[in-house]
Symmetry: C2
Subunit: 192 residues, 2 copies
């Protein structure tokens, strides 16, 4: 397992009393070359792989942005332990028509694991469009917990580089993690 | 004053008991077209303008990235009030040689307002380089509070669009703010 995985797991554990410590910010690039940035919810790792699970709606802007530029950078700050992980990787959108059976299964499992409230949002009107006046459009029948709605996507961030900064310490500690040509992870201490 | 300014000021005020509610994530684009993302500290607004003040080191990667792509997006999540501001704007790096006298003054004032510890970091070894073994390099003489070190930069984000999401509410509330052709701010409610 990648050496940063245990550090990240430790940070998640130590900050678990704060609900929002499971939120991080995901940067992507728009079709016009400008950056975009939004808060997303961490949905766990995919098995023991170096992949972070996120969910998104195929109607959202980020789903469209990823078609143009698959690279993303997650920035995850943990308030209690005062540390930051910057995770560079490629984004992979797993929709209803994805050809890989294993990834389609992962999409299905992720849907099943969601709360009713989280699933319901995928039945809401088109995100980002002018506000729908009809209040009932936001109270649709609950979607089937066994069958993902077609616009539900699992989004995977396959991490290739990590920049870990610990604000505690005199001076602060900062380490880079990246893979060598044999795909082994290298750790290098750098100046904060 | 832009209508989102008062909402943002209210969020800052209501979350003031959390030190880290003054941190936000700033996305930029690297020279190779991939996104970058890191946590920065909000240093206030520049006067009554729609500009957010950040500080950075001219030796940092983001200073270099801004030369290639001046657009940035800040993502600012407030845990107590459960709301997010996404602020799209242009980034302007104000270094020692900046031609505008007013902005150079703002750089000087920002330096003076920093804590001793914050100023000291600008006298540390080159950020991102292999870790300097010499521990004394991280204990330099305190810089002069009246005269910014040459690598100290004020970084301004001039906001042109805001996406405000309030998680509280059934359903959530989301508003876009942007400027019309007369530079007047328009508010539009959109689906979350």
């Amino acid at each position: 397992m990648a050496p940063w995985r245990s550090l990240l797991a430790r940070a998640i554990h130590k900050n678990r009393s704060l609900t929002y410590s499971r939120y991080f910010q995901l940067a992507t690039v728009r079709a016009d070359g400008r950056p975009a940035n939004r808060t997303v919810v961490f949905r766990g790792f995919l098995g023991d792989k170096d992949q972070l699970k996120i969910i998104t709606d195929s109607r959202s802007e980020k789903a469209n942005q990823i078609q143009h530029q698959a690279w993303g950078e997650a920035c995850w700050y943990f308030p209690k332990t005062r540390e930051q992980f910057r995770l560079v990787g490629q984004l992979n959108l797993i929709g209803a028509a994805h050809p890989n059976a294993g990834l389609k299964d992962a999409r299905q499992t992720t849907w099943q694991d969601l709360s009713d409230a989280a699933r319901l949002q995928f039945a809401w009107p088109h995100p980002g469009n002018a506000r729908t006046d009809d209040q009932e459009a936001f109270s649709p029948p609950p979607p089937d917990p066994q069958h993902p709605l077609p616009n539900f996507c699992l989004l995977l961030l396959t991490v290739v580089q990590v920049d870990h900064l610990e604000l505690r310490g005199e001076p602060q500690n900062r380490s880079l993690y990246y893979q060598d040509s044999s795909n082994d992870w290298i750790q290098q201490g750098v100046n904060p």
